[in-house]
C-alpha cells in the first residue's frame, strides 16, 4: 500500500516499522517535581553535547535552551502550584500538573507577535512532556533494530535521544516540513516524510493480518520503504517494489554526481537554449549559499524578514544596507529581483495597524496596502533605488499581489514619485529600475496582454496562483496533495501569462516551488517560460534535467500537458519525457 505525505528530509530508507507512542512502558516513578526537572535538564544537556559532537550546533542550541527551560522557576512554581491544588502527590497527577503548566506557558509564547517564538512554544511543551515522563516513570520503548519510526508526531528530543543509526527513516501523520523535528532529521540525515494522512490507521491495518496469524514477536515485522524526496512510503512492499526502490536509490546517487559536475554552468537545454536558473532567498545571508549552488542571480528576494517580529518599521537606511548586501554579492551582471514586502492581515505587525480580516489571503495585502498608505511601499522603492547606486547595479523591483490594471497604475505612480523625491533631494540612486509584477492571481494572468504594456517583466508565483486558481488552501493538510501546481487549469493560466507577455516581448519567470521541481520545470520551459527561480538546493536537479532534453521535447510535453485532464496525467507525461520517475 502506497501513502503520500510531504517531503521533509531527503533520502531513501527501507526497514521494519517502529511505532513510537508517548510513554507507554512503566519504569520507576520519581514523584518529586524538582528532582525530575533536574534529571530532565541533565539529560537535555547530554543530548546537546551529543548533537554538538555531530557538528549540529544549531540543533544543540535548541537542547541547551530546553535544559534551561526544564529548571525554569516560572515553569516549576506553576507546576507546584497546580500539584498543591490536586493535593495527593500521585506520580501521574504530578506529571499532569507539569504538562499543564508547560502548555499554559507555551500558549503565552505562541500568542506573541513573533514567528520564532511559536517554535519555542513547541519546545516548552516537549520539555513538560519529558519531565512528566520522569515523574510518572513512563519510558520510551526503544527500537530493537534499525527501524523506520511511525508516529503521529515525534518530538525532536526523542529523535536525538535514540542511538545513532537506530532510525533509518521517519514518517509522521502530522507535523510540517518546517517543524523542529523535520529540521533535525535533515540535520541528522534521516529521510523523513510528514503530514501523511491516514498513516497510523494504515499501519494498524497492515499489521493486523500478521498479528492474527500469530506472527508478532519473532514473526515478520511490517517492512516499509520511504522516499524523503518524493514524500512517499510503501507499507509491506512487494519484491518488485523493493527492487524498484533500490534502483531508485542508485539512480539518485548517479544523478547527484552528474548534477555536481554541471555546477557553475548556466542553465541550458540539450539544444543550447539558455534558461537562466536563479535562486529564491529570504535574507541577505542566503546569498552565499545561492552563489555556491551556482545561481545565476536572484529571481526572488523576499523582504518580509525586515518587517516581521519588531515593533517599529525598518528605516530606509536599514533597508538600503540589506538590499545593497545582496546586490553586491551578485555583482552588476547577475540580476537580483527584490520583491516588495508581501504582508497582510495574517501577520501581526503592530506598527502597520493592519485590521484583522476574515480572509487575509483575499484581503488587503501586498501592493494593495498602498491604497491606504503609500509611505511603506514608497520607502521600500527609495531604498531599492539607493541600494542600486550603492552597489553599482540595476536593481529589479517586483510587486506582489497585483490583480488589476489600477494596481499597476498605482505601482508606477509610487515608483515615479519615489525616484523624483530622491532626485529632488540630490540623493544618489540607480539610473534605472527594472519594474515587474508577480502574476499569482487569476485576474492578472487573464489580463496579461494589457499588464505587459505597463511593466518590464512578469514573475509567476506558482504557489499562490495554484491556491487561487483551484481555491485550495495550500497549508491545509487535507488539500495539500490535490493542490498540485501541475493541474492543467494552472498550466493554462501560465500559458495565458506567457502569451500576454509575448504581445510586448517582456520576459516571464516563475519563482514558485514548481520551478524547482524537475518535472514542473520541464513543463514550464515547454510553456515558454524564460527564467526559473527556486530554492538553491533545487538548482542542481533542474540544471541536470534541462541539459538532457531539447526545447522541442519540452514544447511537445507542454502541448500534451495543456490537453490533460488531471495533474496526475501531467506528471506521468512529464516523467516520460524527463525520465526521472519520482
Amino acid at each position: 500500500m502506497e501513502l503520500r505525505g510531504l517531503p521533509a528530509a531527503p533520502g531513501i530508507a527501507v526497514g521494519p516499522v517502529w511505532r513510537y507512542r508517548r510513554g507507554e512502558a512503566r519504569g520507576i516513578p520519581l514523584p518529586d517535581v524538582r528532582a525530575a526537572a533536574d534529571r530532565a535538564s541533565n539529560d537535555l544537556l547530554a543530548l546537546a553535547a551529543r548533537v554538538r559532537g555531530l557538528g549540529r550546533t544549531d540543533e544543540a542550541a535548541i537542547f541547551d535552551a530546553q535544559a534551561l527551560m526544564a529548571t525554569d522557576p516560572t515553569l516549576l512554581e506553576e507546576a507546584e502550584r497546580l500539584a498543591r491544588a490536586i493535593g495527593v502527590p500521585d506520580p501521574d497527577a504530578l506529571a499532569a500538573a507539569v504538562e499543564t503548566a508547560a502548555r499554559g506557558i507555551a500558549e503565552t509564547l505562541a500568542a506573541l507577535p513573533d514567528e520564532t517564538l511559536a517554535a519555542r512554544a513547541a519546545d516548552v511543551r516537549d520539555v513538560g512532556a519529558r519531565i512528566a515522563r520522569i515523574l510518572a516513570g513512563r519510558e520510551i520503548a526503544l527500537p530493537e533494530q534499525p527501524s523506520i519510526a511511525i508516529a503521529d508526531d515525534l518530538p525532536p528530543s526523542i529523535t536525538a535521544e535514540l542511538p545513532p543509526g537506530s532510525l533509518l527513516g521517519i514518517a509522521l501523520e502530522s507535523g510540517s516540513p518546517v517543524s523542529h523535528a523535520a529540521i533535525l532529521s535533515r540535520g541528522l540525515g534521516i529521510p523523513s516524510v510528514v503530514a501523511v494522512r491516514g498513516l497510523l490507521t494504515a499501519v494498524d491495518v497492515a499489521e493486523a493480518p500478521r498479528e492474527a496469524a500469530g506472527e508478532t514477536g519473532d514473526g515478520e515485522t511490517l517492512i516499509v520503504t520511504l522516499d524523503g524526496e518524493a514524500g512517499t512510503l510503501v507499507l509491506g512492499p512487494s519484491a518488485a517494489q523493493l527492487t524498484e526502490i533500490e534502483a531508485r536509490r542508485e539512480r539518485r546517487r548517479r544523478q547527484g554526481e552528474a548534477a555536481r559536475a554541471l555546477r557553475g554552468r548556466p542553465g541550458r537545454t540539450a539544444d543550447g537554449v539558455a534558461i537562466p536558473l536563479l535562486a529564491n532567498i529570504g535574507r541577505p545571508e542566503d546569498a552565499a549559499r545561492a552563489l555556491d549552488a551556482g545561481a545565476e542571480g536572484v529571481g526572488l528576494f523576499r523582504t518580509e524578514f525586515l518587517f516581521i517580529g519588531r515593533s517599529d518599521a525598518p528605516s530606509e537606511d536599514e533597508q538600503v544596507r540589506a538590499y545593497a548586501a545582496v546586490l553586491n554579492a551578485f555583482g552588476p551582471d547577475r540580476p537580483v529581483v527584490v520583491r516588495l514586502a508581501d504582508i497582510g492581515g495574517d501577520k501581526a505587525i503592530p506598527y502597520l495597524h493592519l485590521a484583522a480580516e476574515d480572509n487575509p489571503f483575499l484581503g488587503v495585502r501586498g501592493l494593495r496596502l498602498g491604497y491606504d498608505d503609500r509611505a511603506l511601499i514608497r520607502t521600500q522603492v527609495r531604498a531599492i533605488a539607493r541600494a542600486g547606486a550603492a552597489a553599482g547595479a540595476t536593481p529589479r523591483l517586483m510587486a506582489p499581489m497585483v490583480s488589476t490594471f489600477e494596481d499597476v497604475t498605482m505601482l508606477r505612480e509610487i515608483v515615479a514619485g519615489a525616484l523624483a523625491s530622491l532626485d529632488a533631494e540630490g540623493t544618489a540612486r540607480a539610473a534605472r529600475l527594472v519594474v515587474g509584477i508577480m502574476v499569482e492571481v487569476p485576474s492578472a494572468a487573464l489580463s496579461a496582454p494589457e499588464l505587459a504594456l505597463e511593466v518590464d517583466f512578469f514573475s509567476i508565483g506558482s504557489n499562490d496562483l495554484t491556491q487561487y486558481v483551484l481555491a485550495m488552501d495550500r497549508t491545509n493538510a487535507r488539500l495539500a496533495a490535490a493542490a498540485d501546481a501541475l493541474h492543467p487549469a494552472v498550466l493554462r493560466a501560465i500559458r495565458a501569462t506567457v502569451d500576454g507577455a509575448g504581445t510586448n516581448g517582456i520576459p516571464v519567470a516563475v519563482c514558485g516551488e514548481l520551478a524547482g521541481d524537475p518535472l514542473g520545470a520541464a513543463v514550464l520551459v515547454g510553456l515558454g517560460v524564460d527564467e526559473l527561480s527556486m530554492d538553491a538546493g533545487a538548482l542542481d536537479a533542474v540544471r541536470l534535467m534541462l541539459s538532457r532534453v531539447t526545447s522541442a521535447d519540452l514544447r511537445e510535453l507542454a502541448g500534451v500537458a495543456l490537453q490533460a485532464r488531471t495533474a496526475t496525467e501531467v506528471r506521468a507525461a512529464a516523467s516520460a519525457v524527463v525520465g526521472t520517475g519520482a
Binding site: A61, D64, A65, L68, M69, D72, P73, T74, L75, I105, T108, L109, L112, P113, D114, T116, L117, R120, V124, P284, G309, R310, S311, D312, E318, R321, A322, A324, A325
Partner: protein
C-alpha cells in the same frame, strides 16, 4: 533602595533563543532578585532568571528593557549584565559582514 538601568537591545534576534539563554544564565549568577521589563511594550516586570518569563516579554531588536535589582544587591553586577546586553549577548551585531 533598588538600582535600575534601562538599555536598548540591538542584537538581531532580540531576547530570543540563544541570546535569551545567555542573558538568563548571566542573571542567574547574580545574587538577589534581578527583574526585567520590556519598556517598549510596557510589559510588567518578570524574573530575569526565568528563560520562559524572559521569552514571554517578546523583546525584539530595537526594544528597550529595564533591569532592576531587588533589595540591596551590588549595582556593579547589574551594570555588567547591562554591558553584556550592549555587547550583543554573544550574537554578531545586525548588518555585520553586509
Amino acid at each position: 533602595m533598588s538600582a535600575a538601568i534601562e538599555i536598548d537591545v540591538h542584537n538581531p534576534s532580540g531576547l530570543h533563543a540563544r541570546p535569551a539563554a545567555v542573558f538568563v544564565k548571566a542573571a542567574a549568577a547574580i545574587p538577589g532578585d534581578v527583574r526585567v521589563a520590556n519598556v517598549t511594550t510596557g510589559s510588567s516586570e518578570v524574573s530575569a532568571k526565568s528563560i520562559l518569563a524572559v521569552l514571554a516579554l517578546g523583546v525584539s531588536s530595537g526594544h528597550r528593557i529595564r533591569l532592576r535589582l531587588e533589595g540591596d544587591g551590588a549595582p556593579d553586577a547589574l551594570r555588567s549584565l547591562a554591558e553584556l546586553v550592549a555587547s550583543g549577548l554573544g550574537e554578531p551585531p545586525a548588518g555585520a559582514g553586509a
